[in-house]
Amino acid sequence: MLELENIKKVFFPGTINERIALQNLNLTVSEGEFVTVIGENGAGKSTMLNVISGVHPADGGRILLDGEDISRQKEYKRSRHIGRVFQDPLKGTAFDMTIEENLSIALGKGAARGLTPGIPRAAREMFRERLSLLGIGLEQRMKHKVGLLSGGQRQALTLLMATIVRPKLLLLDEHTAALDPGAADTVNELTTKIVTENNIATLMVTHNMSSALAYGTRTIMMSEGTIVLDVSGAERGAMTVADLIAKFAEKKGRALDDDKLLLS
């Protein structure tokens, strides 16, 4: 499904501020696999997702999605097959537009944006049905501005928008980090439900180590722009947060250095 081959990303190359964000990054994610991604601050997790989605072009290597090389494609083109939810709840929706208008824009993925009605009747019915599946009452607020929603409601809506046209790949970058614990749990549960029901290959970055093990089918840990740990199956099933921390120390020859990661 997704193949990253030797991806490299350098910010400000050739200057004193040069930052190698990704190097020797190789990753293969297969159909329906739900990968959680952890790592210290600055490990390159967000950059990896941004390079996959085309926000930043890679400086080396290839990205294959379903066998197609998308390394040179523009961000908006890649979006047709890649759904995204960002950390910042403000980033995923147009706040001055209504819920149904936002959904309609997301539903237009891949289709021509012509002079046909923005929200046909049939689409409205579908929106209502899909919103009610979120179970948070948004189906009764379809004509409300998104700006009136709470962070958790917005992330749930963004999640629906990212998957309303089934993507080949779903990228979630700490999409529950800005939410209070209750809302974070709701959005995490919804994520699992949507991802497993639709069998979508997913990369989910989280700072919460127990979430990383609790959700998904595989966990990778990044450090200094590459993957240092990759566990799945029975090995992962038996793993605790303490095991993860010990594994990291073993690989890197030092302790994990990230308060946020350790405290969670």
Binding site: F86, A94, N102, I105, G108, G114, L115
Partner: protein, 289 residues
């Protein structure tokens, strides 16, 4: 009062254009100052040749082209939006002079879309109101199409628009073209209404447009979108009435630009002085929504 209304209705088309460019480019578009004159210049030249209606059409299209170029400067050449507009404003000034051939043109004896209207009572008002209603309805329908929704979202949140598979560069191109086409159409009609075209008639137009948008949205509200379009149009009429009143008080016409600037400054500054006025606050912090 009648003329204030008539002028307000014609300028309202320009204000609606300014409204659209705020939505899509997120920045005051200074192209407006010159695309207004561009429309007037095209209109004047064709009117003199006996084709006033074609003049409006050519003005409309020329304005659209100007807006498209501003968008391309911004999206393809990566020149800041504000500077792209300033560069187009400057460049178009020379082009406008070339089109007109001289700094001003009198249309006193030229064919005119208003000459037919003059034959019926209140014909001018009916004609300019009719044109305004057509523009408002067309924009309302347009902004509710799939394309229109994507365009509106571009002014709101580019990330989300790109994440939905839409090329935001294309949206800016379309938005800026539509915006400046409307501005130029307004200039085209104004030339024939005033029977006069001047190279400097567009100076300060973007601020007048902004004033109309702010006045309209504050007085008449912003949602839903049809209400907002009507609000902007009425804002233009109110603005003209204010200017008309100032002139009645004996202020010279040359002071009107200062008054306009003060109106905009006050409207933008008020919420920062008295926090709590939500709708105004949003206006001063960011693009008109």
């Amino acid at each position: 009062m009648k003329t204030a209304y008539e002028l307000g209705a014609i300028y309202a088309v320009m204000a609606l254009g300014v409204f659209i460019s705020y939505r899509t480019l997120d920045t005051p578009d200074l192209t407006v100052d010159s695309s207004f004159t561009l429309g007037a210049a095209c209109s004047a030249v064709f009117a003199l040749a006996g084709h006033p209606v074609i003049g409006l059409l050519v003005g409309f299209l020329a304005g659209g082209a100007a807006g498209a170029i501003t968008a391309l400067l911004n999206t393809k050449l990566k020149i800041a939006a504000l500077l792209s507009g300033i560069l187009m404003m400057l460049g178009l000034y020379s082009i406008n002079l070339r089109i007109m051939g001289q700094p001003n043109i009198s249309l006193a004896r030229a064919a005119n879309i208003f000459s037919i209207a003059d034959k019926i009572p209140n014909g001018k008002i009916i004609l300019s109101t009719g044109l305004l209603i057509i523009v408002v309805v067309a924009l309302w329908l347009f902004l509710n199409t799939k394309l229109g929704l994507a365009l509106r979202a571009t002014g709101d949140n580019e990330h989300m628009v790109r994440a939905s598979g839409v090329d935001t560069d294309t949206m800016k191109l379309i938005g800026m073209a539509v915006a400046n086409a409307l501005v130029a159409l307004s200039g085209s009609v104004m030339a024939q209404q005033q029977k006069f075209t001047d190279l400097n008639m567009g100076v300060g137009m973007v601020v007048i447009g902004l004033a109309s948008v702010i006045i309209g949205e504050v007085i008449f509200g912003t949602r839903p979108i049809l209400r907002r379009l009507i609000a902007v149009a009425l804002g233009s009429v109110v603005y003209r009435a204010v200017i008309g009143a100032a002139m009645q008080l004996g202020l010279p016409a040359s002071d009107m630009k200062l008054i306009t600037a003060v109106i905009v400054i006050v409207a933008l500054a008020l919420p920062n002085l008295f926090s709590g006025a939500g709708s105004l606050k949003k206006l001063s912090k960011g693009p008109v929504k």
